[in-house]
């Protein structure tokens, strides 16, 4: 809506018209009062003339004329007054609507008057009016008998009315703009005060925050001490009741503080415990904490955040490594399949040439070895990356020994070794994944077959030591073991430096990773030629 008529000229005109109407209304009111005082509504024209006209008076003709006018106007003055009232109200409303508007624009355009804080304006108009009225009354006789005083009083009234009208317009414009309360001196002062208070609070907070927690605690204790002194000194005046109330209030406040600290502490502890348990997604809500509690909570959150990033990165790189190895092994397996197949075919061809048979045997043996190496490599990388799934179930350690013994008895005998199994009378159980555990035993027993001195015994025993089930596999090495147990556990390290026999040095590393995946440990001990592998799993 464009305000078509909101021009300064229209506004001025309306303003003046409004003032005029108001003057007319006031005039009518005074007129009616004067007429009724003069008895114009009780008497006829003749009676009025008889009462007021003295023919001796040289101005009597004027009086007659005035009486004539009074009689003519005595009823129509009501009509004039009513019309003026309606006009004044209409003009007032128009002014209110126009105030703050400008032709051809939608928004509110407050005038210069509206820049002044409203309460200041109000006070100015109020005091100005009073001042004017006071001055007028001081200057003039207060009886209002003579025409000059009346004229001055009327003028003062008009001026005051104009001021009031202006104030109303400003009021309307401010309401439209929504700045009525904002643009007041009181609001400004309050705002300033609030700002100052906030700055002070911030300063105190910043200061307290830099203090170590011990100093904060001391500060609080000192405040408590001072309050106690104050209360105790109050006791001297014998106001027991006031003393009790004060102590109660302080105790309640103190209790609330302790309660708050306790709740927040427990929340912090819960968060820290979740972190310790590896739940890095746990988020500590620090919005209700203060000071050191909050700082600590935020520290915990950032630890969780940092750690989850690091863990994610590590997992990703491990997964990528494993994926790479899996893919490479796929690509290696296909040509290897052909090599194994055709080596077998050559071997099956009838030939008298002993050399070809021998060479073909080497081909077949070495391709089989390559096959195992590829499989072990994939498994070792997966086991150490922890991407193998482990399904733990309660298992009998003695059954492991019996089954492993059964599987390997013949093979050991073939290698000239005797297997001796020792199991305790006591029965225990451990948590293990049969498939993964088989890899551990398979690798350890295979090692015994490969590296033990022919004609010796291989010992496999089970003991319960404390809350651990300990499985030991012992054999006498054929080659001297001039290598440390730790080195043996490394990937691609073998007891015999010649590297001529089968094996790839991954077996022990895989066995160790597999044992650890199931929550157990694999330890190697070397004592001269005695090789000892110790598996231990917690009993359930």
């Amino acid at each position: 809506m464009k305000h078509k008529f909101a021009t300064p000229a229209v506004k001025t005109l309306a303003f003046m018209a409004c003032v005029l109407c108001a003057i007319v209304v006031a005039g009518c009111v005074f007129g009616v009062v004067a007429l009724s005082e003069g008895g114009f509504y009780d008497m006829t024209q003749a009676e009025l003339i008889e009462r007021y006209v003295n023919e001796a008076d040289p101005n009597y003709k004027l009086v007659v004329k005035l009486i004539d006018i009074g009689v003519d106007l005595r009823y129509s003055i009501y009509v004039i007054g009513a019309v003026a009232v309606v006009a004044a109200i209409a003009l007032f409303a128009t002014l209110m609507c126009l105030s703050g508007r400008r032709r051809g624009s939608d928004g509110v355009h407050p005038g210069y008057l509206n820049k002044v804080p409203f309460d200041v304006l109000l006070a100015a108009v109020g005091f100005g009016g009073f001042g004017l009225a006071y001055m007028a009354s001081q200057l003039l006789d207060s009886s209002f008998d003579d025409a000059v005083s009346i004229a001055v009083a009327a003028a003062v009234c008009v001026v005051e009315f104009c001021l009031a009208l202006g104030l109303c317009m400003s009021f309307a414009a401010r309401i439209k703009e929504g700045t009525l309360l904002k643009n007041t001196l009181i609001a400004m002062v309050l705002k300033l005060l609030w700002k100052v208070l906030k700055a002070i609070a911030r300063g105190i907070r910043a200061f307290v925050r830099t203090l170590p927690i011990t100093w904060k605690a001391l500060l609080v204790l000192a405040a408590l001490f001072v309050s106690d002194i104050v209360i105790l000194s109050g006791l001297n005046y014998g106001d027991l009741q006031g003393f009790g109330t004060a102590v109660l209030i302080i105790k309640i406040m103190l209790g609330l503080c302790v309660l708050y600290a306790a709740v927040m502490m427990s929340r912090l502890r819960k968060g820290a415990r979740a972190l310790a348990a590896g739940d890095l997604s746990h988020h500590l809500d620090t919005s209700r904490m203060v000071l050191d509690l909050k700082a600590h909570g935020e520290d915990l959150n950032s630890i969780a955040h940092g750690m989850s990033i690091a863990v994610g990165e590590q997992l990703k790189s491990e997964r990528m490594k494993t994926e790479l190895i899996t893919n490479v092994s796929h690509d290696l397996k296909t040509p290897l399949t052909s090599i194994i197949n055709y080596a077998g075919l050559i071997n099956a061809e009838p030939t008298d040439n002993e050399n070809i048979k021998e060479y073909c045997g080497v081909l077949m043996r070495q391709s089989e070895r390559l096959k195992r190496l590829i499989e072990d490599l994939v498994e070792a990388s997966k086991a150490s990356a922890g991407v193998l799934d482990v399904a733990l179930m309660p298992c009998d350690p003695e059954v492991f020994l019996e089954q492993a013994g059964g599987e390997y008895e013949d093979k050991l005998r073939g290698a000239g070794l005797e297997l001796v199994t020792k199991k305790p009378a006591r029965h225990g159980r451990i948590m293990a994944d049969g498939r993964r555990m088989w890899r551990v035993f398979d690798n350890l027993m295979n090692n015994a077959c490969k590296y033990a001195q022919s004609g010796t015994r291989v010992y496999m025993s089970l003991d319960y030591i404390g809350k651990q089930a300990v499985i030991t596999i012992k054999n006498t090495s054929a080659a001297p073991l001039d290598i440390s147990a730790d080195e043996l556990m490394e990937r691609f390290v073998r007891g015999d430096q010649s590297r001529s026999t089968e094996g790839n040095g991954l077996g022990l590393s895989i066995a160790k990773s597999m044992a650890e995946l199931q929550g157990g440990t694999l330890r190697l001990e070397i004592d001269g030629d005695l090789f000892k592998a110790v598996l231990s799993f917690p009993e359930i």
Partner: protein, 232 residues
């Protein structure tokens, strides 16, 4: 006469398999991707399929899904993918056996024979009265004979008793001690001997194509042994 379809994108492997499987009773078809294999299965009466997984145009799994809509012939997957998940996927989609590359040729030959025997024998007559059948194994208590896909397996009396015990409850895991008490009855259980485990391994060597990866008589390490029927 059996029609065997060999499908692998490596021509060398197809050729080697053909040479190993050479038999006057076998007739071979060759395909170098899943699509070709599917077309041959549609056209010919195929009795057994050897199928690679990673192949161009159409991979083995997709081809197998299509083949299973029209044929019930045994499918043996030959794949370089050796993850458990790959095996499970292959077997679930409809494979009868899964051999990982690099395979030993003789093992593939043995598996082909076993699958063919079972497929050709299917519906050849109900098992004899009083005999237990689990997968390709049939055990007759009356004649004390065990046959695997129709071929007799020579077993010692103890081995027979162990197999009978396991086959009576297929899928149930028997601990070595349980087996010992059932089979050896009077003789007390010797804690430090591995008698049962040794017997089980001997049985496995007789009835399994690859005793290190048994399909039928399974080792549940740390618990015991069980017989599984396998897939129909």
């Amino acid at each position: 006469m059996a029609n065997i379809l060999i499908c692998d994108d490596e021509k060398d492997i197809v050729r080697a398999l053909k040479i190993y499987l050479t038999d006057p009773d076998y007739n071979f078809f060759e395909a170098y991707n899943g699509k070709e294999a599917l077309e041959i299965v549609k056209r010919e009466d195929i009795h057994l399929i050897l199928l690679d997984v990673m192949m161009p145009v159409m991979d083995g799994i997709t081809a197998m899904e299509e083949i299973r809509k029209i044929s019930n012939a045994p499918i043996i997957i030959l794949s370089a993918k050796s993850e458990d998940a790959d095996k499970i996927l292959g077997l679930n989609v409809g494979a009868d056996d899964y051999v990982t590359k690099p395979f030993s040729p003789m093992e593939v030959v043995a598996r082909v024979r076993s699958q063919l025997r079972r497929y050709m024998r299917l519906g050849a007559g109900a098992p004899a009265e009083g005999s237990i059948v689990v997968g390709g194994l049939e055990l007759s208590d009356a004649t004390k004979r065990v046959t695997l896909d129709g071929e007799e397996v020579p077993l010692t009396p103890k081995e027979f008793e162990i197999l009978k015990l396991l086959m009576r409850s297929p899928g149930k895991v028997f601990s070595p001690k349980e087996i010992y008490t059932e089979v050896w009855k009077e003789t007390p259980y010797d804690l430090d001997s591995n008698t049962v485990a040794v017997h089980i391994r001997h049985i496995r060597e007789k009835i399994e194509t690859d005793p290190a990866q048994p399909r039928c008589l399974k080792v549940v390490f740390g618990q015991g042994y069980k017989i599984e029927g396998g897939r129909k």
